[in-house]
Symmetry: D2
Subunit: 386 residues, 4 copies
């Protein structure tokens, strides 16, 4: 069977949406995926206008996701979409994802995966039943130097891991922007659209996912302090969490959206018996590797000495900086490679299978639940329940 470009249908992501545009940049980049249809907005005019801007044929600009999934499933196999990409606000993740799976479509979905832990478990169950693929776009684990870090830890380069510090300061919610016409701010601080946590749901989950991904350890206990710092806001915009991991590490997770003057400053430091690692999302092509009695080493994306996972996720030689969009594209590219392999009954490479899955989504929802519960408790240590 001849290999085709994979066809994606997009749910959400109309012309002014931030994350939808990012998804398109990400899946376009490598030329392995093409946008074939979309239900881009709940506003028909926006949906149409957006579809035209994206060069979609008129008959595949749908007005809602139900119509899209239904009609696409009736198209011939060589025309219909291979998967959907769900880029709506959190509260419109679950239903389209379930419906897509039920109609035989694979799914890429923005995080947080759904609205509640219960929905997450249902989706996990559905993925299992259908045998279809789901990719959760936890961007930051798509960076090659994050993959380098994970592999070095897995191979024991640092010895037993003792400490994990992850911080994610942003400043963009330092003011009550949700009342000043900022649409992003409005839905992200609205519990009905965003869920039971603001800052921790939006960016704390990224930090937790990154820490678990690199260390290969799961959070087992936590002690959370959540704050709503800007008066009048309806969800937490700041927090800090003491962590214990299931294989003995401990650490701290910090997330804030009122760190005025910060952009998107996700950083992680991991220390083991023999050395440590440090990675900054804003300078993502560098991984510092620190040693007890030897000079720190500066590992760089694109270098020949990197491990297979890191190399697989670079496109250019060292010194040609790749960034956020490439990290995002790595998830799509790996998902696409794995999906192509499946469609052609081939064995996917281990590197292509390394994208965030429905299980990460379940842990993410559980993280939100546990952090919120801990924050409301007077007890110091809260057992992470899932």
């Amino acid at each position: 069977m001849k290999r085709e470009k994979l066809r994606v249908g997009m749910i959400g992501g109309g012309k002014d949406a931030f994350i939808g545009a990012v998804h398109r940049l990400a899946f376009n980049m490598d030329g392995q995926v093409e946008l074939c249809c979309g239900a881009l907005s709940i506003h028909p005019e926006v949906a149409k206008e957006s579809g035209e801007m994206l060069f979609l044929p008129e008959d595949r600009i749908y007005l809602n996701y139900e119509e899209m999934i239904r009609k696409e499933s009736q198209l011939p196999e060589d025309k219909r979409m291979h998967f959907v990409s769900i880029v709506t606000p959190n509260f419109v993740h679950f239903a389209p994802a379930m419906m897509a799976l039920e109609h035989g479509f694979n799914v890429v979905i923005e995080k947080p995966m759904v609205f509640s832990l219960d929905e997450a478990r249902q989706l996990q169950q559905k993925v299992k039943e259908t045998g279809l693929m789901l990719c959760l776009t936890h961007t930051y684990t798509g960076y090659p130097m994050v993959k380098q870090a994970r592999q070095m830890v897995a191979e024991g380069a640092l010895g037993k891991i003792r400490k994990v510090y992850v911080e994610y300061p942003q400043g963009w919610l330092s003011r009550l922007s949700e009342r000043e016409g900022n649409a992003q701010a409005a839905w992200r601080t609205d519990p009905k659209k965003s869920g039971k946590s603001g800052c921790m749901g939006d960016i704390g989950t990224h930090a937790a996912n990154l820490a678990e991904y690199i260390t290969g350890q799961h959070i087992s206990k936590l002690c959370a302090d959540l704050n709503t710092i800007v008066e009048g806001r309806n969800l937490d915009d700041d927090g800090a969490v003491l962590l214990k991991f299931d294989q003995g590490a401990s650490g701290v997770l910090i997330a804030s959206q009122v760190a005025a003057g910060e952009e998107n400053a996700l950083k992680i430091k991991v220390y083991g018996e023999k050395g440590g690692l440090e990675w900054h999302q804003q300078e993502p092509n560098t991984l510092l590797v620190k040693w007890l009695d030897a000079p720190t080493q500066v590992y760089r994306a694109g270098s020949g000495y990197l491990n297979d996972y890191a190399k697989h996720n670079c496109r250019t030689p060292a010194g040609h900086p790749e960034g956020y969009l490439e990290a995002f594209a790595n998830h799509y590219r790996n998902f696409a490679q794995a999906l192509q392999a499946k469609l052609h009954n081939e064995t996917p490479s281990k590197e292509s299978l390394d994208f965030p899955s429905v299980d990460d989504g379940v842990r993410g929802m559980a993280f939100i639940d546990n952090v919120v519960a801990s924050a409301q408790s007077d007890k110091k240590w809260w057992d992470f329940e899932i």
Copy 2:
């Protein structure tokens, strides 16, 4: 007339080529351009295999550029390519570019533009005659913070410019790699394929172009020292040039491919009466703006306070690092926007017209000629002739 995606035909860029792959990543990213055909290799098998990997229809996988240009020009307007992208080694730039223009196709072309100053002038003349568009992919002026810098200089923020220091150290030719099976190294150090200069042609031209772009000044005199440091090599692999500019600035240009341990460390510093600018390609989202009596400012890509040119060339908010591929994509996107405007008889935005042109290509070829002539001369100052 309905707006279509622009269709590109690629000349060169078969499956193992470096820069061809970069061009595809760059024009795919924004979803404004699609690859419709290619003459991807002079080896028929490679051409076919590459075309299939790129999902090209069989009848548009051509075996040489002449065939491609001829046949495409006979296709109906709504099917044939809008422009060619020429990504072959330097000595195969001129002929396909001329032929494309003669057949009515716009051109994107890798740098150095052609093989000699004479060819460059002919191409310049042809562009003028045909009224078609040509974009030269001098990647580094595609970065938003480079555009920010240029604009700040143009607006006089630094006062009269006095000093320009540009350096471009790489280490990848520290050994005689051209004899060790490195194909890139082989053609780049071969005067028959690369031209009369190696290092200065390959990367010195980037440095000169960047300096002229940011300052808005032209090099008017120079004093060059070219070296072939690795024994057995056939072209210069290192050099330094003292510079005088036509509006009074002076400076230094350094380029080396034997700076062992360096990746692609292009940096520029510009100083005026009131302050200075510093930009590093390897951390491209930051522009340092230095002042005589006030703290240095850290301008960051994606920020709200940037000027129109910089903003136009960012895709994501501050803190979401964009890199080399996005800079490259900016040239394609601007070229595509300007071409779309032309095709629809609209006025292109000033920002979209800001891509490197055939005139930059002529200056680049002249730079190579003048540097080589100066290096061979005992006279200290060489007048830049063009």
Copy 3:
């Protein structure tokens, strides 16, 4: 009365001691203080040898601090020491400090000030009674950029302070060095010599002091997690603390001595309504000042635009890096200036009075007590008692 160099007698600091040597470098540097005598070791041979190496006259090399204080107090005023400098391990701070004050000598003392909160209170009382001066060498508040930061916060440049993150990772206790002949490690991990906390007493106190100094706020509640990570160790070597401050800020304090590969990486970030500050001890001449809607500014030691407190504590123009020893020397210099003013009945400058006092020492001891108590409690929030 003619101004003389101030004369100091040193208690502890024999030839192989680390911190004693640092104190001497610090008080020598500015030529305002001279070492006139010492009780440098409890081992008579070491005391003598050390005294000779330091060019002390034989009759002022004492064999214990009691003898030194007694004999010096009997010398004529123009010969006897003006103050003592106490650089012994923690458990030998209180007694010499009290005895010095009782004999009319001013005191400089290494931190943590004493062994218990009770001793700290007695010393505070004694300072008050005698009217003598005491300087506690909390090194890190001696840096000019820390003073710049404090002043900017005090003047409201950042608006109301919301968040404080301070971290102090070191790696030097990653192994059980106290059993491998490391004398520093041995006493610092011995509860009888160091006190009830290891890591938090040694470096956590620095971090807490720095946070309170810059923000002008006091910790009012905390939630501590202390760990003894290296098996066989007798005190905590790691910890993290969630913080609430008395004027509304919240934050996190991290201290670890098992962060393998870290040197002495104290960092602080403070965020207010309008912007933030970031300072790293290992690059101490830079203070990053971040703004909500404007470029980050890089404030630099030695610059003309700094405030009076910062300028007063620089010796050289910008670009001439000053470091740890100069920060240390700033405390001595300020103490010396204030003491000279007192001796000559002059009004000391406000800048000279800005050195850590016995009150900081009391808060430091209270911090240790409260952190240890919180760590042992199941309750989430512990009220900071003093």
Copy 4:
């Protein structure tokens, strides 16, 4: 014979002088040297006031250097100074240095050593004849990481050295400050006081000295471009020089005092066959060591893995930043150790002998001569004559 503190008499360095204060900080720091007398100013009132501020006894506050040298030479050996420290402007270096040597005093002298190459040679001859010691305070070779670099090159860690780039941009002369009451600017831009070059004499010599020190190679040819950029100035304030070294390396030296917004940004990069080194004076505790096919290493001052020369010149463990004053103090400390050894007929350590000598001073004066001659010549390459 009992070891005494070394006694120094200072020539120049009155109360408002910059470099005199730096010398005092530097020699005070380690407690090995004490100021015993001074001819601190040619203005008697300033001399007296300065002497009192420095706690000098009245009878050793001299009104001119002739008096000082004469009278000190008549004092008994255990009282008279061991050496002079000459910190006057350039044109008052030679005479006091010669007189001091003739009267049996060792000499520390600020750079540039004298006013002309001829004077330099006479001084060199006098040092040789008298067998006395002379230390030239080329500050930047006093940094431990510079010594680490030199040693690594000497041991062949980088292979044969190919390229040397040294740059020294400052911004403090961006305006005509010499006409605005800036005393420093006034004498440094006055040919009668400073010599035949401004920028190259003041800071170009530092850059050249650093390059020769680290590489162990001597400049053998050069091609200089000197500029007087600020209108009305009487000496060069900017320049760039292409370099050839006697053992085959080539390179570039940049020095400017009109790089608006720069502080004291001396940087050097050296590349050999196997790797490269990079050092920045403004972050002096870090030495980057780059490798062809392995991660860059970050060597840090104070670390256990450094070589003997680097360790000898550190006072504190890694992470306790040492700076400009400590680098300066290293020259004094090494000079003092070597002098003490000589006074006591001991063999000085190889590390103590590593301070800049009269030979460096001769090369510095020759550098100025050759750069100025080359700048005035139309010939491209100028043979470095000495």
